[in-house]
Symmetry: C2
Subunit: 164 residues, 2 copies
DNA sequence: TCTTGCGTTCGAGCGCGCTCCAAGCCCTAG
DNA sequence: CTAGGGCTTGGAGCGCGCTCGAACGCAAGA
């Protein structure tokens, strides 16, 4: 296991029930030492994605990466920061298409800031909805585990209609 | 919009911050009037999936559905209950492969109960992890929105290194 | 009667996000 | 000198979960 990546470390940092304090978010949003240029393997390790995926993101136009004398990729602080952002968005379910759109807005300059903010807000809402959906499913799964009788549906009614 | 499906209704029922009380879970796990046989369109509507998807699940061996005189599918209470379960598991991210495995365990009989329970527990843990992951991403997204300066990375350090 | 609409089947197609392959280059260790 | 390992490229391949197309059947309504 590559237990060294950002997300894993952040999750461990927070423990099992962190209230997501401001400091926690600080740790989450910026724990890496973005200073020295990194190789593709190092970045892959940091972000817990494969080098393949990093090249794929570059080909998709999501990030520009310089090359050293041997033609090898060199990820500077800016590239790493962008990839941290990109992988976080991917992990939270933003499709590649939107990411491409977002990045092209960034490339267009300052005046697209409102639009970008709009995308972020929209994605935030989508993530919130997804969390609520999962939370609901989780409750149902836990309920099923607690009352497990087999078959695909020990339906509630069967057990205790009076409880409501 | 098909606002009538189970999940949507459950989400509305809970409001925006429900503590997931027992009654809430009752409502979530068994709100449908499973009594009369249903047509494919009705089930699709109930579960907010397409008829295509229902046929696909059947082809995949996840559920058996009877036919009426015209060869049309007739979903009885058992089939509907199973499909409620299946779509909930799908929605919470269980892959088709595992669902097939689960169902085949059900078909094998009572003695596979422990194994099925194990699968549920494993899935429950996966859902919990996913929720935590999303919650973390959400915090980062909210942070970015709150401090939005443009570019792909107003990195924390840039803003207030002293805050930690 | 004829059209409309909902259903059926089987098989093919598709969008997504990687993931891998093949051929080649460069550097280092043995 | 050679072998190994890590990197490069463009393009092809893949697994997943649907989603759709084509050809057809049946039944109710204009």
């Amino acid at each position: 296991m590559t237990t060294d990546d950002l997300m894993t470390r952040a999750l461990e940092t927070l423990g099992d029930d962190g209230p997501l304090s401001v400091e926690a978010i600080h740790r989450v949003t910026g724990p890496s030492d973005v200073s020295e240029p990194m190789t593709i393997a190092e970045v892959a390790d940091l972000l817990d994605v494969s080098p393949h995926t990093l090249r794929y993101y570059e080909r998709a136009g999501l990030v520009e990466v310089a090359r050293d004398g041997n033609g090898h990729r060199v990820y500077d602080a800016g590239a790493v920061r962008r990839l941290v952002f990109l992988t976080r968005m991917r992990l939270s379910g933003m499709p590649m298409r939107e990411l491409r759109e977002y990045v092209s807005l960034v490339d267009e300059g300052e005046h697209t800031t409102p639009e970008r903010l709009g995308m972020l807000v929209e994605h935030r809402d989508a993530v919130r909805r997804r969390i609520r959906e999962l939370t609901l499913s989780l409750a149902a799964i836990e309920y099923k585990i607690a009352t497990y009788g087999g078959s695909t549906g020990p339906d509630v009614r069967v057990l205790d209609p009076a409880a409501s």
